[in-house]
């Protein structure tokens, strides 16, 4: 809210929260104050399912460089999966 940088994206998958696994349907991405990470601002991702209430949340708070490394690593893993024929046929 201080930076006003917040975006939402629909996702499919599962997340493990404080009460165990639950179905995810949204990721909230912001660059704003984290609650725990030792930075003034962080790249925050909350994997949520709002229909299950506010506690259905898996949170990560990353430094800017860690967020960029993670993004590259996710894309690299997906490219390897695609090259190996592991992705579902569209």
């Amino acid at each position: 809210m201080c930076t006003m940088i917040a975006e939402k994206v629909k996702v499919e998958g599962s997340g493990k929260g404080t009460s165990g696994w639950f179905t995810l349907n949204q990721a909230n991405v912001s660059y704003d104050h984290p609650f725990n990470a030792p930075y003034e601002y962080a790249l925050n991702i909350d994997f949520v399912n709002e229909s299950l209430g506010p506690s259905a949340r898996v949170a990560v708070e990353l430094s800017e460089s860690a967020a960029r490394d993670l993004m590259r690593t996710i894309l690299s893993a997906l490219e390897q999966a695609e090259a190996g024929g592991h992705l579902p046929q569209k």
Partner: protein
């Protein structure tokens, strides 16, 4: 000044209060015990939510002789841990300014109706709460002193305005109805020093009673002892300025 032979006590609890729009929300109330009447403080909590720091700050103000109320500005978002609720608010782009001003005006009305108060009410906020406190001091008549600690987004570009935040708070400066204390870190980016300067120029333009203090070696949130942005010397000096300012205008 406190001395070791003095009686001291604070009674603090969660209460239900009514917002200016009629909604019931909860709030944390900390009231000094002993001989009143007491001045009052309304506390506008920060973006990380209606959290332990704000309950502690309500207690701190009460220890200094101020009956304090901290309304839960995120009440309508739902109930859960302060972090889970604040995370949802953050994802939703905050809460509407009009609603927050109504909640803070409701808190003002609530403390005015209590016994053993002196009729003077200040408002304090940090981070987004500093912004909200400034908005309330401009738009809700009746506050006697404002403390804005590093309130960001007082100055907003047109492309930053949203249905929840339709007007940049700086536009309301002409309506500020009480003395203002502003504390800012020169390494902050929300507000950046040039935005603080812009706000100060607007206060000067309208002849407002204000004092701004800018701290070198501090960024955003330098009072937050539990965060890496804490700056001990600046925080100690800042709190001294807060209580000197309130003593001047709320006695």
């Amino acid at each position: 000044m406190y001395t070791t032979d003095m009686y001291e006590g604070v009674y603090a609890e969660t209460v239900t209060m009514t917002s200016a729009n009629g909604d019931s929300i909860n709030a944390y109330l900390a009231r000094p015990l002993g001989k009143g009447p007491f001045p009052c403080m309304v506390l506008a909590h920060h973006m990380p939510g209606w959290d332990a720091w704000y309950r502690e700050i309500a207690f701190k103000f009460a220890l200094h002789g101020y009956l304090s109320i901290s309304p839960n500005l995120f009440f309508r978002t739902g109930q859960g841990t302060p972090e889970d609720i604040a995370a949802k608010v953050r994802a939703d782009g905050g809460v509407p300014d009009d609603q927050v001003v109504g909640d803070l005006a409701g808190a003002l009305k609530y403390v005015h109706a209590l016994k053993d108060v002196n009729g003077k009410v200040g408002i304090f906020g940090t981070c987004s709460g500093g912004r909200h406190a400034f908005l309330a001091a401009c738009r809700a008549p009746g506050f006697d002193a404002l403390v804005d600690c590093w309130g960001g987004n007082v100055v907003m570009r047109p492309d930053q305005l949203t249905p929840k935040t339709p007007v940049a708070p700086i536009e309301y400066t002409k309506d500020l109805s009480c003395p203002m204390l502003g504390l800012f870190g020169n390494d902050d980016t929300t507000p950046a020093p040039e935005q603080v300067n812009q706000h100060e120029a607007e206060l000067k333009k309208y002849g407002k009673n204000y004092e701004f203090h800018r701290y070198d070696g501090a960024g955003h949130g330098f009072f937050y002892y539990h965060r890496p942005m804490y700056r001990q010397a600046q925080a100690v000096d800042g709190w001294e300025k807060v209580f000197a300012f309130l003593g001047k205008y709320l006695a």
